[in-house]
């Protein structure tokens, strides 16, 4: 007689041991250090911090090591850890106008106050494999300049002055933390931007690309892209003093999009906004384009049924931890529901044979 | 004294700064067919959408009186309103695709109306649906087919069946033949006319086509720039129009 398979527990333990072994790989190769990941795989670390919604390079590097370099798995580890952290309070908004920029470009003006600054970018590199990295290659020294003392103004301010670009109104809305409140539809822009900021980079990229190809086309210019260090402040309520608690790297993109005007508004430029932890240019620009596409209603644009315009579609599907979880749950046992379907198909077929 | 089934008082609706309809008052009696004519932009579609609950008017009163029960249409809760629309009203769209589920069989489409008002017996739903498919001259062998396999005329007839199956008290029709080829228009009109006579339906029909109004409507109103400029018995208005605009409409159509 058949005896049902037991031993899920043993199987899980063995599988996890094997996983640890294979993660370590050949023990004759030196163990990967967290510092190496942190210093040399910085863009992976920053993506994990951005989509994990937790700024901590050590934890992100650890997560990357633990996940064998699978970034979505690493993001997942960070998210789960984040859940358990107590909240001390909320910092006031960071001031990106005070950013110490390592990179700052505008595609709309050749020369701007504060200057264009290329910074450490892959742009204009030739994508040729650099075999010298196989050995310890010679690293060219970058020229050093002093950090500019004066603030670098946002480029879009100049369009603002002329009244050529849509004004962002301060509606004094206290943004809700989407990780502490359920997202409900229609969402407002603050919640939308929070979702997009921790959304999957690939998903945002594809959506932004679709707007460029005509699905809710909103021809975009990169009004400004800036990357650099900003201070995070915190007001200690007991002492009533504001202190700097951290300095973080963020990427900010403001897009300028043409707009023909509608019954409501005369022709003007409109904007989309992207902000991410770390140096994530591709994501920040994508985010700005998607943000702009989602703003069709407030601008009085037509809904053309494009995916990037559909708030509920975008926000419900942009989170890779939700998506990957639900997708991967298909690997769980489904014996019971499958059995139920089996019986149904058999019954329908039996009846079909009978009536033939 | 006969109480009007529908009484409208000073109904107004505008969009931003554009007038949809302004200060409309009218009555509709049981068994009456009322035609609304006017060129596009005259406000006739705005009016019918307000009366049928598709649009929220800015001002005015809409009172239905059905089986001696008065319903203040603009002052009931959303759920009461939806229920009233489900059970007492029907709306035949110009484009049948707006009134049908294209991924649901013909029988399912007709049946949905019954199920939405509480029918829970498959056999009864099925036989009523079959009866109505027949009534609108669709072969009953097509009852399990999807509407996407139907011609334009058949789709419109299916939509009519879906709307009439629950015996609604007021039926709104927005250019019911407007989207059809001339060759099929006659057949659909003929069907509507025979159903109206047979079932003694109360109908408000919007059309820019005076021939449709002449054929179906007992009474008519003429709209221009959002207001009613002339109303009365259809024969009377069509034979002896008082307003210059109506005269123009009538002469331009009848001479063709």
């Amino acid at each position: 007689m058949y005896v049902a398979v037991k031993g899920g527990e043993k199987a899980i333990e063995n599988a996890h041991n094997w996983l640890s072994e294979i993660r370590r790989g050949d023990v004759n190769v030196p163990n990967l250090e967290i510092d190496q990941i942190k210093e040399q795989l910085t863009l992976s670390v920053e993506r994990v911090m951005s989509e994990g919604s937790l700024y901590d390079t050590d934890l992100a590097a650890l997560a990357i090591k633990q996940s064998r370099g699978d970034l979505i798995e690493a993001i997942f580890l960070i998210r789960a850890y984040r859940t358990t952290l107590p909240r001390f309070g909320t910092s006031p908004p960071i001031k990106t106008e005070d950013m110490v920029c390592m990179r700052r470009i505008s595609a709309t003006y050749k020369d701007i106050p504060g200057k264009q600054k290329l910074g450490p970018t892959f742009d204009y590199t030739h994508r040729l494999l650099d075999f010298s990295l196989l050995a310890e290659g010679n690293i060219p020294k970058a020229e050093k300049r002093k950090v500019l003392k004066e603030k670098i103004p946002h480029v879009l301010r100049f369009l603002n002055k002329e009244g050529l670009i849509q004004k962002e109104k301060n509606n004094n809305y206290q943004p809700k933390d989407i990780t502490r409140n359920p997202l409900e539809f229609p969402a407002n822009r603050s919640e939308r931007l929070q979702s997009l900021s921790r959304a999957d980079e690939g998903f945002l990229l594809a959506l932004a690309y679709s707007t460029q190809r005509g699905y809710a086309r909103n021809h975009a210019f990169v009004g400004e892209l800036r990357i650099g260090y900003v201070k995070v402040k915190y007001n200690i309520p007991e002492l009533d003093i504001e202190i700097d608690i951290a300095e973080i790297i963020v990427t900010e993109c403001e897009s300028v999009n043409q707009f023909q005007g509608s019954k409501k508004t005369p022709a003007q430029f409109t904007r989309g906004y992207g902000l991410t932890f770390g140096q994530l240019e591709r994501k920040a620009v994508s985010m700005a384009l998607v943000d702009r596409a989602l703003r069709w209603k407030e601008i009085g644009e037509e809904f053309v049924g494009a995916p990037a315009q559909d708030e509920e579609f975008v926000l419900s599907h942009c989170d890779n931890i939700q998506a990957t979880g639900f997708l991967e749950h298909l690997k769980l046992p489904h014996y019971v529901d499958f059995q139920s379907e089996l019986e149904l198909v058999r019954r329908i077929r039996k009846e079909y044979e009978k009536n033939k | 004294m006969i109480i009007p089934l529908l009484k409208v008082t000073n109904l107004s609706k505008s969009y931003d700064n554009i007038v949809g309809c302004k200060n409309i008052s009218m009555s509709l009696y049981p068994g009456e067919v009322l035609g609304i004519v006017g060129e596009s932009g005259s406000g006739k579609t705005t009016l019918i959408n307000c009366l049928s609950g598709n649009l929220e008017p800015d001002r005015g009163k809409i009172i239905f009186n059905i089986n001696n029960k008065e319903t203040d249409f603009l002052n009931i809760s959303e759920s009461e309103k939806r229920k009233f629309i489900r059970t007492d009203l029907a709306f035949v769209h110009q484009n049948p695709r707006d009134g049908l589920r294209l991924n649901v069989s013909a029988g399912g489409n007709i049946g949905e109306k019954l199920m939405s008002v509480g029918y829970r017996h498959y056999g009864n739903i099925r036989s009523l649906a079959t009866k109505w498919v027949n009534k609108v001259e669709i072969d009953k062998s097509r009852i399990d087919d999807l509407p996407i396999t139907f011609s334009g005329g058949m789709l419109q007839r299916l939509q009519i069946a879906k709307n009439l199956i629950t015996s609604p008290n007021v039926i709104f029709m927005d250019e019911p033949t407007g989207g059809l080829d001339v060759s099929v228009q006659a057949r659909v009109l003929d069907l509507i006319r025979s159903l109206v006579n047979e079932l003694n339906l109360t109908v408000i029909i919007v059309s820019h086509d005076l021939a449709v109004i002449r054929l179906l409507a007992d009474k008519m109103i003429v709209m221009k720039n959002g207001t009613v400029i002339e109303s009365g018995l259809s024969d009377q208005v069509l034979e002896d129009p008082q307003q210059e605009y109506t005269q123009l409409l009538v002469s331009s159509v009848l001479q063709v």
């Binding site: 007689m1 058949y2 049902a4 037991k6 031993g7 899920g8 527990e9 199987a11 899980i12 700024y55 390079t57 050590d58 650890l62 997942f76 789960a80 859940t83 358990t84 952290l85 450490p120 990780t179 359920p182 997202l183 539809f185 608690i245 951290a246 300095e247 973080i248 790297i249 509920e312 419900s316 931890i321 979880g325 639900f326 997708l327 991967e328 749950h329 769980l332 046992p333 014996y335 019971v336 059995q339 139920s340 379907e341 019986e343 149904l344 329908i348 | 759920s79 939806r82 489900r86 589920r101 069989s105 949905e112 199920m115 939405s116 008002v117 829970r120 498959y122 739903i125 099925r126 399990d144």
Partner: protein, 296 residues
């Protein structure tokens, strides 16, 4: 160039200090404020049977879709006096059941059992035990898609309206279409029900064989959907009716076999292929029930 080393850390970097996992977390993993938030949602759900209450689902250390909703509900209801049973597909020893049970053992050091009668709190995926549930038991379902109308209307903003106005005609259209096509209602699991004569509710992907067990049950039934951020509930002794037509009544069928281990004829069975020729064996999906019956 990079200056992130200057960042002042709020939290010590303690993961590598070799502390056992469980000591770093609160009882049953979630912090007390989160549990309070979830318990409020549960109470609201119990007051409006079948209504989906939105809640701020947390990220859990297992993937969305693997029972995070159920785990959060369980974690919020769990007390130190509870005895916990976890099943998946009816069995206590399927991989995900083992994994979730271990999670609660680690984070709460709670007593666990495989015996349905002994449990005060049972978390399940896809089955209701054959042993009838009792008064004072809490029964938690893991729910992937809480919205029964989702397959007719994917937009939540629309389905919310349909629920609030009881516009459920479209739901029966699906059943109508099934019958006219195949002579049967084609839904075999996650078969929709009407709770307390008001809300149409998804019972989670249990086989429809289990649907009648929900009706008038003395236990508290809670449903948690983590990814979709919804909690709903059936209070004890509540009417739960599976949708059907008067002339096509609900039919909770199962395989027409008896269990090859315990011989039971009226329990839900798993079908197992036993050899290369495709020969089949049928055994109870509820392993606890099967063991007890066999040992009697």
């Amino acid at each position: 160039m990079r200056k992130t080393n200057n960042v002042i850390k709020i939290k010590d970097f303690k993961v590598d200090k070799g502390l056992p996992f469980d000591q770093e977390y609160n009882f049953a993993y979630l912090d007390e404020n989160t549990k309070k938030m979830i318990r409020r949602a549960i109470i609201k759900a119990l007051c409006i049977p079948g209504y989906q209450v939105p809640f701020a689902s947390r990220e859990m250390p297992m993937p969305y879709g693997w029972g995070t909703g159920g785990v959060q509900v369980t974690a919020s209801c769990l007390t130190k006096r509870d005895t916990l049973k976890i099943i998946d597909q009816g069995a206590d020893d399927t991989t995900n059941a083992v994994s979730i049970r271990n999670f609660f053992k680690k984070t709460s050091n709670i007593k666990t059992t495989e015996i349905t009668e002994k449990a005060t709190l049972i978390q399940t995926r896809h089955r209701i035990p054959e042993t009838p549930l009792k008064k004072k038991q809490i029964f938690v379902y893991q729910v992937p898609i809480p919205e029964p109308l989702a397959f007719l209307e994917p937009k939540v903003s629309e389905t919310i309206k349909m629920h609030s106005l009881s516009e459920y005609g479209a739901m029966h259209v699906k059943l109508y279409e099934d019958i006219s096509k195949n002579g049967h209602i084609e839904t075999a699991y996650a078969y929709p029900v009407k709770t307390n004569d008001r809300y149409i509710m998804d019972p989670s992907p249990i086989p429809k064989f289990d649907n009648p067990k929900m009706n008038n049950s003395p236990a508290i039934q809670l449903f948690g959907a983590g990814r979709e951020q919804r909690i709903y509930a059936i209070p004890p002794y509540t009417k739960v009716k599976s949708l059907d037509f008067e002339d096509y009544p609900f039919d909770p069928f199962k395989a027409e076999h008896a269990c090859d281990i315990c011989g039971s004829k009226n329990t839900y069975l798993d079908e197992i292929i036993v050899d290369d020729a495709g020969n089949k064996s049928f055994i109870c999906s509820d392993t606890d029930f099967c063991n007890k019956r066999k040992n009697k």
